[in-house]
């Protein structure tokens, strides 16, 4: 039984089809992501799972039950909102207790404190949201949802509002929390690094459709479309063959075998542990190679041969 199943779900808003036939099935206990650019329909899809929007057509199943008509409070899923949506008139503890009280659960105080402990925020239990930092608000929002032990936790761009250092740290904690609780997580994000590093499987969305659903290795190394290839990382295009920068090599002399192109070095960007060599192809167009720092012997204006293994090519019909 899938914890979540979407069957050909469509959502139309006046003058716009936000979600255009999404089909997706999630196994219990996994960490999943919906990845795509803004306006691709990923948040609308998430809102239909949470019960905040009704599909125009198609069906949403939770644990095998069709839930199209069910209100948010009639579904055993919980959402962590992008704005956190903490109740400003309640303390951190009051926020976490809210759902337990609405559901008439016994032993609220203890459960809520345990949840705050899980997100390492016991010390801030009596603070109001206005007195919490962004990262702390995020943790309260997580605790507030996790304490209800939902079958499925929905996260709408949960890390977008945090600064980069904190984002990396929370990323690791999110993953650890998912493994610890065993709750299925479904994360919406436009950050490919986030989706790749967190997910067991991710769905890449574009224009209201899922272009590919697979493991991070699948979508990065074996993208199903040019859009997926380009969204997950940089691609050098040679006709209809795409090559990732890290699979692109540079040589002074023409290599004996394999595909190659003549180019001149346009610029060299030093990135600490690696360098990016940007090149202008003699046949027109640009390409970039990502090289280990040790190989940093190329200078602007050098005439070079750019080459790659045919096995590293990504081709799309």
């Amino acid at each position: 039984m899938h914890v979540l199943e979407l069957r050909n779900v469509v959502k139309e808003f006046p003058g716009q089809r936000a979600v255009d036939g999404v089909t997706l099935a999630l196994e219990r206990g996994g960490f999943y992501s919906l990845l795509g650019p803004s306006g691709c329909g990923k948040t609308t899809t998430l809102r239909m799972v949470g019960g905040f929007e009704k599909p125009s057509s198609g069906d949403v199943f939770l644990n095998g039950e069709r839930v199209n008509e069910r209100k948010p409070y009639e579904r055993n899923v919980s959402t962590v909102f992008q704005s956190y949506a903490l109740f400003p008139h309640l303390t951190a503890l009051g926020n976490v207790e809210f759902g337990l009280r609405e559901r008439g659960v016994a032993g609220r105080r203890e459960r809520a404190m345990n949840a705050l402990e899980l997100v390492k925020l016991s010390a801030r239990a009596q603070r109001f949201p206005a007195a919490l930092s962004g990262g702390e608000k995020q943790r309260v929002a997580l605790a507030r949802s996790l304490v209800l032990e939902p079958q499925l936790l929905l996260l709408d761009e949960p890390l977008a509002a945090l600064d980069p250092d904190l984002r990396k740290q929370m990323r690791a904690e999110l993953k650890a929390m998912q493994r610890q609780t065993g709750i299925t997580f479904l994360l919406v994000t436009h950050d490919q690094e986030e989706a790749l590093s967190l997910s067991d499987k991710l769905a890449v969305m574009n224009s209201g459709r899922i272009e590919q659903f697979g493991t991070p290795e699948d979508v990065y190394l074996r993208p199903a479309s040019a859009f997926v290839a380009g969204f997950l990382g940089a691609v050098n295009w040679f006709g209809d063959a795409g090559v990732r920068p890290e699979a692109t090599r540079i040589a002074r002399e023409r290599p004996a075998e394999g595909p190659s192109r003549r180019a001149s070095v346009a610029s060299v960007v030093f990135l600490g542990n690696r360098v990016h060599v940007h090149m202008a192809l003699d046949e027109g167009g640009r390409a970039v190679a990502e090289l280990p720092r040790a190989q940093d012997q190329f200078r602007e204006g050098d005439a070079v041969w750019l080459h790659w293994n045919a096995a590293d090519e990504m081709r799309f019909p």
Binding site: Y73, F81, F87, E102
Partner: protein, 253 residues
């Protein structure tokens, strides 16, 4: 130079706005009857508080304004909430219409409504008709103040409440209402003030038993300027100035 000019300009405008009130309050403490200063006295305040017409008018006004404020706050808040949930701009347009309608037109129309309704009900003009009229014109004020607060209210708070298991009504009472409570209180105070203040509509729909304080003062002022009127007016200025300040403070929260 420019700064000075602006400061003087501002002082002039403020004086123009508030000099009449300052003079009113000054002469309410005058020992004499006319607008010649004859020494400090509180005799007109004593006279005002011992005037049965004035105290009855005040009592009527307080009852009417109190009941009308509570009812219009209740109805107006729910109206603003409903419009916010439904996204109904034409409904708020109709509210502005009720604000810009000249009071005398509102009053006459309410009188016509009462007379029509009295054909079926055995009722007469009285305090109840004044309360109904005041509720009718206060709702727009309440709705507009509450709606302004709701425009800045994060919709996801209510969604979060429902997500956590609260039904629609519980989400409203436990999350939305506490968040907009300062604006609701401010709107209630505003309704209290506009209701207490009203003369035109009230005089059209009032019965013999429901003379409000503004009606009594108006009648007294027409009989000739009595310093008693100054005293009562000064009290009203101070009391309502305080209420409006409180309302502003609440709206800022």
């Amino acid at each position: 130079m420019k700064r000075h000019a602006l400061g003087i300009y501002a002082a002039c405008i403020l004086a123009f706005l508030h000099a009449p009130l300052a003079i009113l309050i000054l002469f309410s403490f005058n020992a004499g009857r006319f607008t010649i200063w004859e020494g400090f006295s509180t005799r007109w305040y004593t006279a005002a508080l011992n005037d049965p017409q004035l105290t009855e008018g005040l009592l009527n006004s307080l009852i009417i304004a109190g009941v009308a404020a509570v009812l219009s706050t209740l109805i107006g808040t729910l109206a603003a909430y409903g419009m916010w949930r439904r996204n109904a701009p034409w409904l708020s347009g109709m509210l502005y219409l009720s604000l810009v309608t000249p009071e005398v037109v509102t009053g006459v129309s309410l009188l016509a409504l009462c007379q029509w309704a009295f054909r079926f009900l055995h009722l007469r003009l009285g305090m109840h008709t004044v309360i109904v009229a005041h509720v009718a014109f206060s709702i727009a004020y309440v709705t507009i103040v509450v709606a302004a607060r709701l425009r800045n209210y994060d919709r996801s708070l209510e969604e979060a409440a429902m997500d956590l298991g609260a039904g629609e009504w519980r989400a409203f009472t436990r999350v939305t209402l506490p968040s907009i409570a300062p604006a609701v209180a401010a709107a209630g105070l505003l309704a209290l003030v506009v209701s207490f203040d009203d003369y035109v509509i009230t005089s059209l729909v009032a019965g013999v038993d429901s003379e409000t304080l503004p009606m009594v003062i108006y009648a007294m002022a027409r009989r000739g300027v009595s310093p008693v009127v100054n005293a009562v007016s000064s009290l009203i200025v101070v009391a309502f100035g305080a209420l409006i300040l409180l309302s502003e403070r609440l709206q800022e929260r």
